[in-house]
C-alpha cells in the first residue's frame, strides 16, 4: 500500500472448506483481498496445489486432482488473473503416488484451460534425486509454460525456511545447458560474472546509502563487501538482530513510502535507480499489469494476454524465441571452440621436436619409426590424458631402447589418419615396424605389409593411457621388430564417461591436425634432442 512493491503472491486457496477455514480465510475474504490488491494497482496471483489439504489433514477422501480443480475454478471465480500451482510445497506428496507427476502437470493445464496465467511452480524440491527432480521439471519447460519457475531459487538451502527449490542457484549452469539442449526458452540467461559483481556491488551500495539517508541503519564497508559476494546469510558475518528490528519498526512507524525511497536514491546520487524505481511506481498507475499473464519487458512495457495473446494451437505453434533470444540461450559460458583449444595447447608448447629435414628410409633391422600426426610439435602439445606429447615420445623411445631397438620420430603431414601414419612409419623403418601416434594420444603398432586398418596393437582409449603403457607399446614394437613375443597391454578400463567427456575435444583436436595437413607432403625427421 505504500508503493514499495508491484506484485503479491502466495495468496493461498484450498480445496476443502475445513482447510480453508484452518488457513483463517474463506473464498469471500480471498475474493476481497484480490480486489484490495488491484485497488492499489498491484498484480497478484493465487497459490494452490496438490497435497496441501492432505498435509493439513483435511482432504476429506477426495483426490488431489479433484481438490486442485476446485481451487483453479475458485481462482477464476474470484477474478484472480493467475495461479501458481503444480504441487508447489506439496509436490513431494503428489510424487508419492502413482501417476503423481501427471497430476502436477494437469494442475498447470487446468490453469491454462481457464485462461489464467500459469505459473508452474518450481517452489519445492520434490525429491533429493537429481534425476527425479529433473524429470519433474523437464515436461513443463518443453511444453512452454508461461513461467517454468515462479522464481528460480537463489536462496541457499539453509536459508530457505520453505525448503529448497526444485531447481536452485547451484543448478544454474545445468539449467542453462538444458535450455540450450532443447532449444527452449526457460526464462534464464547467462550473465557475465563481472557484470553480476558490478550489479551486486551497486545494489549493496545503493541499499546502504538509502538506509543511511533514511536513518534506518549504518552498514560498514566490510558488510557491503561481504554482501557483494555472499551466497547466503552465513557469508554475511554476525547479524545484528536488534538493528534489523529497529529498522523494521522505523519503516512501519514513519510510514515510509516509495516516494521516500526515490528521494533517497536521488539525493544519494543513484539517479538511474531512482528513475527506475519511479518508473515502476508509474507503471502501477496504468493498470496494464493487472491483466492476465502480465510481465514487464526490459523497457518496462507490459506483455500480457491482451498485448501478446497466446496463439498456441499445437506443436510448432505458439511462442518461439526470437533469433536474438535464441542466440542468448545458445551462448552458455562453458561452450568452447577450436580457438580455445588452440590457445590451451599453445600454453604447453616447448622448444623441442624441431624439424631436421626430409626423413629417409632406415637401413638397420633394429630401426623403428615413430610416426606422428601433422600438428604434433606445431599446434598440439598435450594429449587427452594430460600427458605432454614429448613425455609420451620419451616413454616410447625408452621402451624401444630397453628391448634393444633404436627409435626415430618422423612427422607425416599428408594424413591425419592413424592407420595410414602408422603404416607409413613402418614402411620407412629398417625393421618394417612402425608406431603411429596422434597428438591426442591414440597410438598403434604397424607393420609394413599390413592393410592400413589392420595393426598389431592399438591404444584406442587415449584419455586413459598411462606413461607405463606407452613405454610398453615401445617395448612391444621392438619385440615385433626382433621377431620376439610381445606382451600385449590390457585395456585401461575406466568408469569415466569417456565419450561424453572427450568427444568434442577430439573433434577440435582433429581440426587442429587437419589445418596442419599438407597433401603430398614428404615425411620430416624430428629432432630427438631432449627426448632421450
Amino acid at each position: 500500500m505504500r508503493g514499495l512493491t508491484s506484485y503479491a503472491e502466495t495468496v493461498s486457496l484450498y480445496g476443502t472448506e475445513q482447510v480453508f477455514t484452518d488457513g483463517d480465510d474463506t473464498p469471500w475474504s480471498k475474493a476481497f483481498l484480490t480486489s484490495a490488491y488491484a485497488s492499489r494497482g498491484m498484480k497478484m496471483r493465487v497459490s494452490s496445489g496438490a497435497g496441501a489439504e492432505v498435509l493439513m489433514a483435511g482432504a476429506q477422501g477426495r483426490s488431489m486432482l479433484y481438490l486442485e480443480a476446485r481451487c483453479v475454478a475458485l481462482a477464476r471465480a474470484i477474478g484472480a488473473q493467475g495461479v501458481q500451482n503444480g504441487g508447489i510445497d506439496g509436490a513431494s506428496v503428489a510424487a508419492s503416488v502413482p501417476g503423481g507427476l501427471r497430476e502436477l502437470m494437469s494442475e498447470n493445464v487446468m490453469a491454462m484451460m481457464r485462461n489464467l496465467e500459469s505459473c508452474s511452480g518450481n517452489d519445492a524440491l520434490m525429491s533429493e534425486s537429481d534425476m527425479r527432480r529433473t524429470s519433474r521439471t523437464l515436461p513443463i519447460a518443453l511444453a512452454g509454460s508461461d513461467f517454468v519457475f515462479s522464481g528460480f531459487g537463489s536462496i541457499q538451502r539453509y536459508d530457505n525456511m520453505f525448503g529448497p527449490s526444485n531447481f536452485n542457484a547451484e543448478d544454474i549452469d545445468d539449467f542453462l545447458a538444458m535450455q540450450r539442449d532443447w532449444g527452449i526458452d526457460g526464462g534464464l540467461r547467462t550473465v557475465d560474472a563481472s557484470r553480476l559483481a558490478d550489479v551486486r556491488r551497486e545494489a549493496a551500495e545503493a541499499c546502504r546509502a538509502v538506509y543511511a539517508h533514511l536513518g534506518l541503519a549504518d552498514f560498514t564497508d566490510e558488510h557491503v563487501e561481504l554482501a557483494v559476494d555472499a551466497a547466503g546469510s552465513k557469508d554475511l558475518g554476525e547479524t545484528d538482530t536488534l538493528a534489523v528490528l529497529a529498522a523494521a519498526q522505523a519503516i512501519r512507524q514513519r510510514g515510509l513510502t516509495v516516494v521516500d525511497i526515490v528521494a533517497a536514491l536521488d539525493e544519494c546520487g543513484y539517479c538511474h535507480e531512482a528513475e527506475r524505481t519511479m518508473a515502476f511506481a508509474r507503471a502501477r498507475l496504468s493498470g496494464d499489469y493487472l491483466q492476465t499473464s502480465a510481465i514487464f519487458d526490459e523497457q518496462l512495457s507490459v506483455l500480457s494476454l491482451v498485448t501478446d495473446p497466446n496463439d498456441y494451437a499445437g506443436p510448432g505453434t505458439g511462442y518461439e524465441p526470437a533469433p536474438s533470444r535464441q542466440a542468448e540461450i545458445d551462448a552458455i559460458r562453458q561452450a568452447r571452440g577450436v580457438a580455445d583449444l588452440r590457445a590451451e595447447q599453445a600454453a604447453f608448447a616447448v622448444p623441442l621436436l624441431r624439424a631436421r629435414g626430409p626423413a629417409g628410409p632406415g637401413q638397420g633391422p633394429r630401426d623403428v619409426v615413430i610416426g606422428v600426426s601433422p600438428a604434433v610439435g606445431r599446434d598440439v602439445w598435450r594429449c587427452l590424458s594430460g600427458l605432454a606429447v614429448t613425455d609420451v615420445l620419451r616413454e616410447m623411445l625408452a621402451g624401444l631402447e630397453e628391448e634393444g631397438c633404436i627409435g626415430r620420430v618422423v612427422r607425416f603431414s599428408d594424413s591425419v589418419d592413424l592407420g595410414r601414419i602408422g603404416l607409413a612409419a613402418a614402411r620407412l623403418a629398417g625393421s618394417g615396424i612402425g608406431i603411429g601416434l596422434q597428438g591426442k594420444g591414440t597410438a598403434l603398432i604397424h607393420r609394413r605389409d599390413l592393410a592400413p586398418l589392420a595393426n598389431l596393437e592399438l591404444y584406442s582409449v587415449a584419455p586413459s593411457v598411462t606413461p607405463s603403457l606407452y613405454r610398453l607399446l615401445g617395448a612391444n614394437a621392438a619385440r615385433h621388430a626382433k621377431g620376439g613375443t610381445p606382451d600385449p597391454a590390457r585395456n585401461p578400463y575406466s568408469d569415466e564417461a569417456i565419450e561424453a567427456r572427450y568427444h568434442t575435444t577430439v573433434i577440435a583436436l582433429m581440426e587442429l591436425e587437419r589445418r596442419c595437413m599438407v597433401p603430398g607432403a614428404l615425411p620430416e625427421e624430428l629432432s630427438l634432442e631432449g627426448l632421450t
Binding site: 469471500w28 476481497f32 480486489s35 485497488s39 477464476r76 485462461n115 498507475l285
Partner: protein, 120 residues
C-alpha cells in the same frame, strides 16, 4: 489514447524524479485511478474474462477507501470474525457510500457464513 491520471488527478507524465525532488509527489499521486481500473475491466471483459472484470470493478470502488478501512473489511470477512448482522450492516454502509459491488460480496458472505457456521 486516454490520458492516464493518478488518483490525485495528476497526469502520469508529471510523476518524475524531478517532481519528487521538488516535493510535488505524494502517495496519492502514485495510486491508481478508478477510471483506469474501469478501462481495464472493459479490456478484461473483451478478452473473455468477466470475473477478472468484476474484480477490477470492485477494486475501482475500493480506491475510495483508505488503507486502514480496506484492511478492516478484509479482517471482518475472515472466518469467525463477524456476526451475520455485522456483515450485513457493513454491506449496507458500503452500498450507501457508492461501493455496491463490494457490498454485494459482503451480503453474499453474510448469508453463506450464517449457513456454514463461519460467523462469529
Amino acid at each position: 489514447m486516454t490520458e492516464i491520471r493518478a488518483l490525485s488527478g495528476k497526469p502520469v507524465e508529471g510523476l518524475t524524479v524531478e517532481a519528487v525532488r521538488t516535493g510535488e509527489v505524494g502517495v496519492a499521486d502514485l495510486r491508481i485511478h478508478p477510471e483506469t481500473l474501469e478501462r481495464q475491466a472493459v479490456v478484461a471483459e473483451r478478452h473473455g474474462n468477466p470475473q477478472l472484470a468484476e474484480n477490477l470493478r470492485r477494486a475501482a470502488e475500493l480506491t475510495r477507501l483508505p488503507d486502514d478501512e480496506v484492511l478492516a473489511i478484509y479482517e471482518a470477512l475472515r472466518p469467525g470474525r463477524s456476526t451475520p448482522a455485522q456483515l450485513t450492516d457493513l454491506a449496507a454502509s458500503l452500498d450507501t457510500r457508492g461501493l455496491p459491488r463490494c457490498a454485494a460480496l459482503l451480503t453474499e458472505a453474510a448469508d453463506i457464513y450464517a449457513r456454514r457456521g463461519l460467523s462469529a
